[in-house]
């Protein structure tokens, strides 16, 4: 049975008194993947910041289930490989160690480098460990970053546009991997504007509809992957 990890009730998130996005009800549990879909500027990042606790709600509640046990949720983050600054001298192992270093004093990872190497091995990229990160392909870079994020043993993993810039094969390989980890119990949140990818991985999708009037927050609709697929298809037919 899935354990509820995060619950959002009637919450509005925003900055400087300006509401950006409003959610009536949203849940995230173990072995579930929540897709976050919406056009640019609809408040996807703001919603994720709110759900993960980086942004306090202007109204409503965000409940992290493990707060009662005084064990904060371990939330991992997979950055977009395109946002990585490649002029920094670093190997694939250095890049994969980023997530673990975030939770260590001075960033030293010490013996936990073994965890990173083990996860790289599981993802079949351990042979890339000493290669320059900048010299890897987009798909390899994304796998390296994913291995790092997973090595930190997160309870919830947030992925920001994970398939952006990847070719078809790399995208499918990554999606298969993500499905595998969800099946093993990991809770995921995937931010994407690629509906096809979200439909393949997510159990439910938070669809952000931008407000019609200025100053109003975007509205979040929770839909099934099938419903999103149909809506996209209808919209494509209309345009066609």
């Amino acid at each position: 049975m899935a354990d509820k990890l995060i619950e959002v009730q009637n919450a509005t998130f925003g900055y400087g008194g300006r509401p950006v996005v409003r959610v009536e009800h949203l849940e995230l549990s173990t072995s579930k993947c929540l897709g976050i879909f919406g056009p640019n500027g609809s408040g996807k990042t703001t919603l994720v910041r709110g759900i993960t606790g980086l942004l306090s709600p202007m109204s409503g509640h965000v409940i992290h289930a493990t707060r009662s046990t005084r064990q904060p949720l371990r939330i991992g983050y997979l950055p977009q490989h395109r946002n990585i600054e490649l002029h920094w001298p670093m190997t694939a192992l250095d890049a994969a160690s980023l997530a673990i270093s975030a939770r260590r004093w001075f960033g030293w990872i010490g013996p936990r480098v073994k965890d990173v190497l083990a996860m790289m091995n599981r993802l079949g990229i351990d042979h890339l460990a000493s290669r320059l990160f900048a010299s890897l392909s987009g798909g390899q870079q994304q796998r390296v970053l994913l291995s790092g994020a997973l090595a930190g043993d997160p309870t919830v993993l947030v992925l920001d546009e994970p398939t952006e810039g990847l070719d078809v094969r790399s995208t499918q390989e990554l999606i298969d991997l993500l499905r595998q980890f969800v099946a093993e119990g990991l809770a995921m949140m995937i931010i994407s504007h690629e509906a096809d990818d979200l439909v393949q991985v997510s159990g439910q999708i938070a669809w952000l509809h931008p407000a019609q009037q200025q100053g109003e927050p975007s509205r979040v609709e929770i839909v099934s992957p099938e419903a999103l697929g149909e809506a996209i298809l209808k919209a494509a037919r209309r345009v066609g």
Binding site: P79, P89, T91, D94, A99, S101, F106, W108, V158
Partner: protein, 345 residues
């Protein structure tokens, strides 16, 4: 493409050779200029060793032993001269080495984090503080310089947090250049002192300055080097850092603070040129050749010390000002390093 790079490479080498040859060919002129600019160093040397003030400061008895072909001395004399020179300039060399080590470490992250403009602006801001100290007639210029630098640091950090316009840092740069001189306008000696602070031509460090600066610089360098994974994380995945409970703005402020300390102490002891040379040149020289940050840090430190040794050698052998010698040699090596790395690619 390779052909073009080869041509630039050859031109750069030729340029370095030309500069060296011209300096060797005109020892009399350079001696004169050195005598003009190094007056206080000469005074210090006179006190320390009883050498005539008419002789150039960086080479106490050079004129008698100078060969007709250039500024170099004969072999036996050179050995004695170098020992003696190193002894006389030990505090300056020690401080410059510490500035080199700290500058190489901080400079690496300054370049990678694209904060070069901030690093250029801070010395100008420090100069405002130094000018205030001069105007008030204070012996120690460090407290006012520290005060002004800290105010600027807080302002930089706040403006970054609020994502304020990118006019702030360049405006501070210009303000530093202008206000520092306006504060001491019509005070002849102070103007000369401030010019010296900017150009770093006349480098003299006393024991007290060295003993206060060197340990702090080395601690800052060590701290910055130990935190290499933190700087890497903040640059590559600030959201991951935030989710792990870190505050990126606070870490950014810490980095600016470390940078300010190095620039402040370095400028106070050695002048702006030496500090900026050590900040940018060793790091930029080693970056194309390193695969990881730890190796870049170590290589940067070693290269900065080589630049200092080479600069010290050339400044004495060819009667060049020290800071400019370090900067000039560093720049030439940097160009060669960059071009060679492009050729290799």
């Amino acid at each position: 493409m390779k052909m073009r790079v080869s041509c630039i490479y050859i031109l750069a080498v030729l340029l370095v050779i030309c500069v060296c040859t011209l300096s060797l060919a005109a020892p009399a002129q350079t001696t004169q200029s050195t005598q003009q600019v190094d007056q206080s160093t000469q005074d210090m040397l006179r006190e320390l060793s009883g050498v005539s003030a008419s002789q150039p400061a960086t080479m106490p008895s050079a004129s008698a032993e100078q060969s007709s072909s250039g500024g170099f001395e004969d072999e036996s004399a050179t050995a004695i001269q170098w020992k003696r020179l190193i002894g006389l300039f030990q505090f300056m060399l020690l401080t410059a080495a510490a500035v080199g080590v700290a500058g190489a470490v901080l400079g690496l992250f300054v370049l990678l984090r694209r904060e070069a403009l901030v690093a250029l602006a801070i010395p100008q801001v420090v100069a405002i503080g130094a000018a205030i100290g001069m105007r008030l007639g204070w012996e120690n210029k460090l407290p006012p310089a520290l005060g002004v630098a800290m105010i600027a640091l807080v302002y930089f950090a706040l403006s970054r947090r609020r994502s304020a316009g990118n006019w702030i840092v360049p405006a501070f740069y210009v303000a530093g250049l202008c206000l520092s001189f306006l504060i001491i306008a019509n005070h002849g000696q102070d103007v000369e002192d401030l010019q010296r602070l900017f150009t770093g031509v006349d480098v003299a460090v006393d024991a007290k300055t060295a003993l206060t600066s060197v340990p702090v610089l080395l601690v800052v360098a060590l701290l910055c080097a130990l935190l290499w994974r933190r700087w890497l994380l903040l640059a590559q995945a600030p959201a991951a850092a935030e989710l792990a409970g870190l505050r990126p703005t606070r870490w950014d402020t810490l980095f600016l603070l470390l940078l300010t300390i190095v620039i402040l102490l370095g400028t106070n002891a050695l002048g702006v040129v030496m500090v900026l040379s050590m900040l940018f040149l060793p790091a930029a020289t080693v970056l194309p050749w390193t695969r990881r940050l730890p190796s870049a840090i170590v290589a940067g430190m070693v290269v900065s010390l080589i630049f200092l040794a080479a600069g010290f050698y050339f400044s004495n052998a060819m009667r060049w000002p020290l800071s400019q010698s370090v900067g000039g040699i560093g720049f030439a090596v940097l160009i060669i390093s960059q071009l060679t790395s492009q050729l290799k690619k």
